[in-house]
């Protein structure tokens, strides 16, 4: 193991590597090979007001700050290959955002997490990095927590209706859509409600529509988890 560590240090040349290794014992030497890596991060606080596109640009510069050897598209204006999972609407926090990148050299997992985390603001935390065994497009459901002092039981009960018609903004103007089949489950508790909503690309339901069904005008939303079609947690 110590041999492998030495090689890593040479490759990565990160300041904290040596320290990391003495602090932790088992997992730290885990090496992410060249190729696809999935990064899980959370986005909280003031970052909820930063759009999906701007988060992409932020991650691009952060990868450079962190000196992570990512694969760049070739051509005149090269840019790092990054794939983001579900976009998050402005105003929403998240505990479970995913990006896929490609490493051009092996990198120690812990170093990648630490250096990328250090290159992001304190409200954006890197939680995990691993070799993906699934496609980001396999995300089928997303769970959100909506909090508001305006939350009323009578309104929550509406979510149990057979059909919940709403006016949805689409590219071709407003359209009436029944969102009942897009709500898998919900659980209200005091000022908060957790709802699991359809998140596949064809039937993505923005939690704002649920907030409007619940007649909320002042509320916060956090994406808390994402799932495969069978209901197991996405990874």
């Amino acid at each position: 193991m110590s041999e492998a560590v030495n090689t890593n240090e040479n490759v990565i040349n990160a300041e904290n590597t040596a320290q990391t290794i003495t602090e932790n014992t088992e997992n730290t030497a885990e090496l992410l090979p060249e190729g696809a890596v999935r990064i899980k991060f959370e986005k909280r606080g003031s970052l909820k007001f930063i759009s999906h596109l701007d988060i992409q640009r932020t991650v691009k510069t952060a990868l450079r700050r962190a000196k992570i050897p990512v694969w760049y598209s070739q051509g005149f204006n090269p840019h790092p290959k990054m794939t983001f999972a579900l976009p998050l609407s402005i105003g929403t926090e998240s505990l479970c955002e995913y990006i896929d990148i490609r490493l051009t050299r092996p990198m120690e997992r812990e170093t990648l997490i630490r250096s990328l985390d250090g290159a992001l603001s304190p409200e954006m935390n890197v939680l995990d990095a691993y070799i993906p065994q699934s496609k980001l497009s396999e995300i089928a459901w997303a769970e959100y927590e909506l909090s508001s002092p305006q939350l009323l039981d009578a309104e929550v009960a509406k979510l149990s209706a057979e059909s919940i018609p709403i006016l949805k903004n689409t590219k071709n103007g407003e359209k009436e859509v029944d969102i009942a089949p897009m709500i898998r489950e919900y659980k209200a508790n005091g000022d908060t409600i957790r709802v699991t909503l359809s998140a596949d690309s064809a039937h993505y339901l923005n939690p704002e529509y649920v907030a409007s069904v619940l007649r909320l005008t002042d509320w916060t939303t956090t994406r808390t988890a994402v799932f495969f079609a069978d209901g197991s947690e996405f990874r």
Binding site: S46, K48, F49, D54, G91, S121, D218
Partner: protein
């Protein structure tokens, strides 16, 4: 902090939500004083400003002192703030502007003045300096417009004149010392500040006027207060503070790139150019210092572009060495270099090959005037051959579009000078067709972009009247009629905007009531086309009994006391007079490297400068 509800109701909440990577956060309970540095325009413009980055960084090196940032809220945010009765807040702590000890504004252009007043009001700070009491912040101004800050003098407690890195730190330390010693009062502090080099406290001066509205006397009210304030400069640019980290905006700003300031000042001395005079003397940084800083900033920011910044980058004496050093690592890391300012006489094939903006985009040159006579009069020392040679280099490399900047309404301008602009553009098109077919790109495009001359303080043309609005408009139309070629695109600058800019550029304290009235009538974002309202301004001037022509169009008397005469920029009034006389004789002045013309700025000292030592 602003509430979620507030931020959800505006178009771009990322302008106000803060939380950027590398913002500076300090413990509020371990401070002696707090400052907020305000940029009176949008976040996107403010975040791209080099001066703000420099001063934010350097002020935060002071122990127990925290400098935060604030920007002008866009109109949607302002509406929400007013509706919710919420104050304008600083970015880092989210505290209202009124709780700060020092509220600083950078004055980059005259048309931001109404935004300054708006930010003060939204921040809960009395607008007039005279209305502020012991509990209110000290309102400090600086930047290029502070060289003639008279139109806004009554709204500011103090101005910092010249380069702020050292000066503002001294200012902050004085504030801290007087506070911690328990001797601070507004009055005592401002009097003390007036003794610091480069600070102008307008309330300590009396201005009186002649019956014709010109100034009859301008004098300190108290002994010991300096009659003239000499601007501050950083003498050794290699030793001047430069940030090692950049606050990284999340939203896209005007310039998302590393800006490397290569030198200050300009060797040229174009007679209309204020920057060319107020930033004298020329002081360069060493290539090795710049290269080192570039490396550090690229690593700390993750940006993939470095822009070399200065008034005329190709005049940097070590440009080759610098670009070679940078290219030795930037190419491999896919980092591009860009140059914002090129002169035709120093534009070469070698330079073009090094610079990626040139490789990808079009080229921009600024001949400024259409005839050699007028170019000589304004001391723009370039000739047609330089322009043609530069265009040929570009065309032979497969470029097909060139942008040419001109100014109209320049002193001594005749209609044949305008004909000259049209002819020059046509000649560039003709030149394109003399380039061998196999080398050149697709069909050529020349964009002629014409702005209006604005007489600016501290230039040889500071005494000149601006052409009347009708004349400016007529000249724009005339030039348009002379350009018929479809390969030439003609853009011109709104003359009404330039006129208002001229009013405030050469204004005095008597303009304050108009600014106050404009603010009351909801005027702001004057530099934005969608909000600029010339007729409203004329109405305001009329209601306040102010004649805008007195400031914009009148030729100032040679012996008249100018509103900015109390400021010493190093360059002497005698030099400016001499240059003005030479303009009328169509005589040029050599650049500072060829021969010293004795402008006087070398009195201020400076390292790595072409100026003779005293």
């Amino acid at each position: 902090m602003y509430s979620d509800k507030l931020l959800k109701s505006v178009l771009k909440p990322g302008r106000y939500s803060g939380g950027e990577y590398a913002q500076i956060i300090k413990d509020k309970n371990a401070l002696d004083a707090r400052m907020v540095f305000c940029f009176p325009d949008t976040y996107e413009i403010g975040m791209s400003n080099l001066g703000v980055r420099l001063l934010y960084g350097v002020l935060n090196t002071i122990d127990r002192f925290w400098c935060e940032r604030a920007y002008a809220p866009w109109v949607d945010m302002e509406r929400e703030l007013r509706a919710a009765n919420e104050p304008l807040r600083a970015h880092e702590s989210g505290d209202p502007l009124s709780v700060f000890d020092i509220v600083g504004f950078t004055l980059q252009y005259e048309l931001c003045y109404t935004n300054v007043l708006n930010m003060l009001e939204l921040g809960g700070i009395p607008l007039m300096a005279a209305q502020r009491g012991e509990g209110d912040p000290i309102v400090l101004g600086g930047g290029p417009c502070a060289y003639n800050a008279e139109p806004v003098a009554e709204f500011f407690d103090v101005f910092s004149i010249g380069e702020g890195e050292d000066a503002l730190c001294e200012f902050a330390r004085l504030y801290i010392k007087m506070k911690t010693d328990g001797v601070y009062t507004r009055e005592k502090f401002l009097r003390e500040v007036s003794h610091l080099e480069g600070f102008y406290v307008p309330s300590l001066y009396d201005v009186s006027y002649n019956p014709d509205g010109t100034i009859s006397a301008f004098a300190p009210k108290y002994p010991g207060v300096p009659a003239k304030i000499t601007k501050r400069i950083m003498r050794d640019m290699d030793k001047a503070y430069y940030p090692s980290k950049l606050v990284m905006p999340y939203i896209e700003t005007v310039h998302d790139r590393v800006v490397l300031e290569v030198y200050r000042g300009c060797i040229r001395g174009c007679r209309f150019c204020q920057a060319g005079m107020i930033f004298r003397p020329v002081r360069e940084k060493s290539p090795e210092v710049l290269d080192c800083k570039a490396r550090e900033l690229v690593d700390a920011s993750g940006f993939d572009e470095i822009s070399l910044s200065s008034l005329s980058i190709s005049d940097y004496s070590k440009l080759d060495e610098l670009t070679d050093r940078l290219l030795s690592w930037t190419n491999a890391e896919q980092i591009s270099l860009s140059l914002p300012s090129l002169r035709v006489d120093s534009f070469t094939k070698e330079l073009m090959d090094k610079i990626s903006t040139v490789r990808t985009g079009g080229l921009t040159f600024a001949p400024e005037a259409g005839t050699q006579r007028l170019r000589d009069a304004i001391n723009k020392n370039v000739c047609e051959d330089d322009l043609f040679r530069a265009c040929r280099v570009a065309f032979e490399a497969g470029k097909s579009s060139v942008k040419l900047y001109f100014m109209q309404g320049l002193p001594t301008e005749q209609y044949d000078d305008l004909d000259g602009i049209a002819k020059l553009a046509k000649d560039v098109i003709d030149l394109y067709y003399t380039v061998p077919r196999e080398l050149r790109g697709r069909s050529p495009q020349v964009t002629v972009s014409v702005s209006c001359f604005i007489p600016k303080p501290f230039t040889p043309f500071q005494w000149e009247g601006q052409d009347a609005l009708e004349v400016l408009c007529d000249k724009q139309k005339y030039l348009g009629s002379k350009i018929s070629d479809k390969k030439i695109r003609y853009n011109w600058h709104e003359a009404k905007v330039s006129r208002l800019e001229a009013v405030f550029a050469r204004g005095n304290r008597r303009l304050a009531p108009a600014l106050l009235e404009a603010h009351k009538r909801g005027v702001r974002f004057d530099s934005w086309d969608e909000f600029f309202d010339y007729d409203k301004w004329m109405e305001i001037f009329g209601d306040c009994g102010i004649d805008p022509a007195f400031y914009a169009n009148r030729e100032f008397g040679a012996d008249e006391i100018l509103p900015w005469d109390n400021i010493d920029i190093g360059v002497t009034k005698e030099f400016l007079r001499r240059e003005r006389d030479k303009a009328y004789e169509h005589k040029t002045t050599p650049n500072c490297r060829e021969q010293c013309s004795g402008c006087g700025a070398n009195r201020l000292g400076g390292e790595r400068t072409p100026c003779p030592k005293l």
